[in-house]
Structures are given as C-alpha cells and as structure tokens.
C-alpha cells in the first residue's frame, strides 16, 4: 500500500502526545481502579475455592446477607417514591424556595457517612432526644434493624430525586398538561404519561440507590452495634472477618459485593448507551 500523507488537523494532538496521554489514562484506571477490584477476587480465592464458598455457609454470613437485603428492600423503594414526588413538585410547579429545596435534598451526599450515623444516634440513642421515651416503651432503634434501615435511607436519600429532577425539567410539562386538559385525572396522567417517560431515569436512580444501600459501611457501622448474626450487614461482616484475620473469608464476602458493583456498572453503561435520550442530560457523552 502506498503511504498516504495526511496532515494533522490543527485541533489534533501530536500522535506522541496522544499515545502518552492514552497510556497515562489507561495506567491510572488500571492501576488505581481496576487492580483493587482484581485483588478482591484473587484474595478471595487465595485459600482455594472451598474456603471461599464456605464463607457463605456461615450462619453469620447468611444473616448479614439477609440484613443487607432487608435494609435495601425498605430504603430503596421509599427513596424512589420520595424521588418521584420531589421531582413532580420541583419540575412541574414554580414556587418560592425551589432552588433551596433542591440544595436541601442534596445534603446527605455532602455529609460524612459517620456523621450520617451519628445524627440518628443523637435522636434515637440512649442519650439521644427520644432515647428515654423509647427505652420506656422497650423500642430499640439504635443497635437494631430500624437504625440500620434509617441510616441506609439517609445515605441513599438523594439518588432517585437527583436523577429525576433534571430529567423531568428537561422533558417539560407539555405532555402532562395536554393529558390533563383532555380530561385525564392526575393519577392517570402520572401513570400513563409521566411514568413511561421517566421509567429509564427512575431505573437508573434506583440502580445507583440500591448499590449504595447494599454497600453502605460508615453510617451503618455507627448505628449497628456490631452484634454478630443480628445487626451486621455484609460490609460490617467483611470488617469483622478482616479484623479476625480471616482474610480469605472477608474477601469472599467482599467479592459478592464487588460483583454487585460490576453488575451495577454494566447495567448503568447499558442504560446510558441504549436510553441516553431518556436519562437526564448529565449522562450524555
């Protein structure tokens, strides 16, 4: 083949620069992000597959998996309903203080996970606001399931709202206004016009919300009390195993959460690729 001389466009980087930068980017992602992920799986199998699988047969591990699923099963739907309600209010109406409301919804993302747990201890803990009252009625929230669910709700609070608000603002009100002016009721407008329009965005938010709910560590750690088999979620169980020097078991349980993360990332990429137009514009690239 005859070599073709093609002048480099003025907005193109020099091939050497391109190579070097691509290499740096690949190294950053590979060494910094992917290698830790690979470590999880290799460490899990370091004492053989049998040890890794045995880690899941432990009653404490089963209890931890159950607790994680319960916490996510309560927190994710509640935050999804909240996200839909909040985005309906914010994107479909104009009212005073809207910008401030959006900022308030974002608060849990900027608060340290440890502080997120601490605030619930200060409300429901023995020395907290409602502590004496709860103790009188024999209700346990901190160091029990309700506290874990509440902490999970707090840290995953903004996910769905944050995805849906910009999406619904982008989509505008025309379709819903048309439906209402043609005589549709509010609920049938929501279920037959709004929901079909936002379903992929909703799924996207729920996906991220769920990943965080199942993986939350700091906030849940503060309210859990670390009672084995009772108030330990999967991330807390991993910590307990790790501190007990049961590394292979710790990494085996961790690999389950790592797989959840990979599945989440894959689904997220598919949604961004396949339904980009039906997600909030932030994800178009």
């Amino acid at each position: 083949m005859r070599p073709v001389f093609r002048p480099r466009a003025a907005t193109q980087d020099h091939p050497l620069t391109r190579w070097a930068l691509t290499l740096v980017a690949a190294a950053v992602v590979g060494l910094f992000l992917v290698l830790p992920l690979v470590t999880v799986f290799t460490e899990a199998l370091s004492e053989g597959l049998a040890t890794a699988l045995n880690a899941f047969r432990e009653p404490d591990a089963v209890a931890a998996i159950r607790l994680t699923l319960i916490a996510a099963a309560v927190a994710v739907p509640l935050n999804a309903v909240f996200g839909v309600a909040a985005s309906w209010a914010v994107a479909r109406f104009d009212f005073w203080g809207k910008g401030f409301l959006i900022t308030l919804i974002d608060i849990p993302f900027s608060v340290s996970p440890v502080v997120s747990g601490l605030i619930y201890v200060l409300v429901f803990g023995l020395q907290g606001w409602l502590g004496p009252l709860l103790a009188d009625h024999d209700v346990k929230i901190i160091f029990a399931l309700p506290g874990i669910v509440l902490a999970t709700m707090f840290v995953t609070f903004p996910f769905v709202a944050r995805e849906l608000i910009p999406l619904m603002v982008d989509q505008g009100r025309d379709e819903e206004e048309a439906a209402v002016s043609l005589g549709a009721s509010g609920w049938s407008t929501f279920f037959r016009v709004t929901l079909p329009n936002i379903k992929w965005g909703l799924l996207y938010g729920v996906l991220l919300c769920n990943a965080r709910a199942m993986g939350e560590f700091g906030a849940v750690s503060v309210v859990s009390g670390h009672i084995r088999g009772l108030t330990e979620t999967m991330p807390l169980h991993i910590e307990a195993l790790y501190n007990d020097y049961q590394y292979a078991s710790a990494f085996a349980v961790a690999s389950l959460l790592a797989m959840l993360a990979l599945v989440t990332l894959a689904l997220k990429a598919i949604l961004e690729w396949r339904y980009a137009d039906e997600l909030s514009a932030v994800h178009h690239h």
Partner: protein, 282 residues
C-alpha cells in the same frame, strides 16, 4: 395552602394546570424533614450542652487536631492529584478513539459503585508490605500502608470519578471551535491548551476538585483499613467520631461531628456559588 385554586393562589407559587402540587410537595417536605433535617438538627443542637469552651476543648485536643489536619490535608492532596489525572482521563476519553474506550469510561465509576469497605480491604491488601503494589514501593523505600500516604492513596481512589465526570460534559460542550479559532490565529497547540482550553475548563476542574475534596474529608470505609489508624499519625477525623461514640463521649463525638457538618455545608455553598459562576460565564 395545598387546596388553593387558580383564583386564590398564594403569592409564593405560580399557577399551573397540573394537579398534585400539595400532595407531592407535602410528602417531599415531610420525608425530607423526618429523614434528613430533624436528625441533623439533633446534631447541631447537641454539643452546646458542653458550651463553647467545652466545644473548643474537644477540638483543641492534639489528637483531634491531628486527625482533622490529616483528613483535610490528605483530601486536599488527593484532590490535587485527581485534578491532574482526572483531566488526562477525561481528555483522553472525550477526544481520542482507541479500543477499550467504552470499558475504561464505564470503569471510571468503579469507586462510586464499589462499597467502601470492599475498596478499603482491597487497597490495604494491595499496598501492604507483601502486596502487589506495596512490595515494589517498599523496595524503593516507600511505606504506603499504615501511614498517612495510605490515607492519600485511598482518598485519591475515591475522588477520581468526581473530576472526570465533572469535566466530561464540559469538554463535550466546549467542542473544537475555540481550538480551531485559536489555531487559525496562529496559536501553537501548547498555547491553545494553556490560554484557551484550560481557562475554559477551570471552573469545572475546580468543581470536580471541590467535590473530591468534600467527599475525602468525610470518607471512612475506604480509608480505615489501609490507614492503620495510629493516633496522631494516621488517624482520620471520622474515625475519631466513632472512637468517641464507643467511649460513650456523645458531646465529644458531636463536637467533631458539628465541625465536619459545618465544613460540608460550606463546601455545598461554595459548590453552588461555583456552579452559578460557571453558568453566568456561558
């Protein structure tokens, strides 16, 4: 207020043909107050039972000061590292074509998706003395795990996606026209980069760095395993809150908590201002 009709609307809302304002806003405010605002109020009120002097006593303690310095300093260094690496990764992902690009793009979100405890033990194993990266580092005399350097490594891991994801949409919107204009006016590639592209990206870079910093200051799960948590050496502020709570020192835990909350709110405010500034520049 919620039953207001089009003719008697209060002045704080504009009329709309759509129903459900009262229900959706009512539920939003109720849920927001119950889950977020009231519990935060409980923290803000708490440390004042020990008074200002008690509050300053807690924060003035050498161990607390060191933990705060490590959390803030470590996050600042990690944010600076991420500004550089994040810019390179975002640039490469938005401007070049190469095999595996989509995969790398998806993997950038890994620190968001991977539970912090999992990241924590993985980083700890990776950078430990006998770890894949720890051993070579040890060979050249650098100890990563159980030192402040380990804290920075974990915070860099956690913060990278913030910078990349903030830059990507801006790079997309920027397009190639400003670069073409610069080139036709005789600018070299380096000049274009320094005088056209970087200044345009500056607000986004700053936003990304601020987001990474804010996340780093409060980060707990991914740090505590690799840090080793030696008091006064590699102990971070969030861990100290946990330690105070375990000692039943609620006031002490709350004092550190309130400070971290104040910083979080200040960052939130700064980010909102930064976004308003960016929007005004367009």
């Amino acid at each position: 207020m919620s039953i207001a009709t089009a003719t008697t609307l209060p002045r704080w809302r504009t009329p709309s043909a759509l129903p459900g304002f009262g229900l959706s806003l009512g539920f939003t405010l109720f849920y927001l107050s119950a889950v977020v605002l009231l519990p935060i109020a409980a923290l803000v009120v708490r440390p004042w039972e020990i008074g200002w002097s008690g509050f300053w006593n807690v924060l003035g303690d050498a161990r607390v000061l060191h933990a705060l310095a490590l959390s803030f300093g470590g996050s600042a260094i990690a944010a600076a590292i991420n500004t550089v690496f994040g810019l390179v990764v975002a640039w490469v992902l938005m401007r070049y074509r190469f095999p595996g690009k989509r995969l790398i793009d998806a993997l950038v979100d890994l620190p968001f998706a991977l539970p912090t405890a999992v990241a924590g033990i993985a980083l700890s194993a990776l950078y430990a003395r006998n770890g894949w990266l720890g051993a070579p580092l040890e060979a050249i005399g650098i100890k990563a795990a159980y030192t402040p350097l380990g804290v920075v490594i974990a915070l860099t891991f956690i913060g990278l996606p913030f910078v990349v994801r903030t830059l990507q949409p801006v790079l997309l919107e920027l397009g190639r026209e400003p670069e073409e204009a610069a080139a036709t006016l005789g600018a070299t590639r380096v000049q274009t980069m320094r005088r056209v592209i970087l200044p345009t990206l500056a607000p986004a870079l700053l936003t990304g760095a601020a987001l990474a910093f804010a996340r780093g200051v409060g980060e707990y799960g991914s740090v505590i395993f690799i840090a080793g948590n030696l008091p006064g050496v590699s102990e971070i502020a969030p861990l100290l809150i946990v330690i105070r709570l375990n000692e039943n020192d609620y006031a002490g835990a709350s004092a550190i908590g309130v400070l971290m909350l104040a910083v979080a709110f200040a960052m939130l405010l700064a980010l909102n201002l930064l976004q308003a500034w960016t929007a005004a520049r367009r």
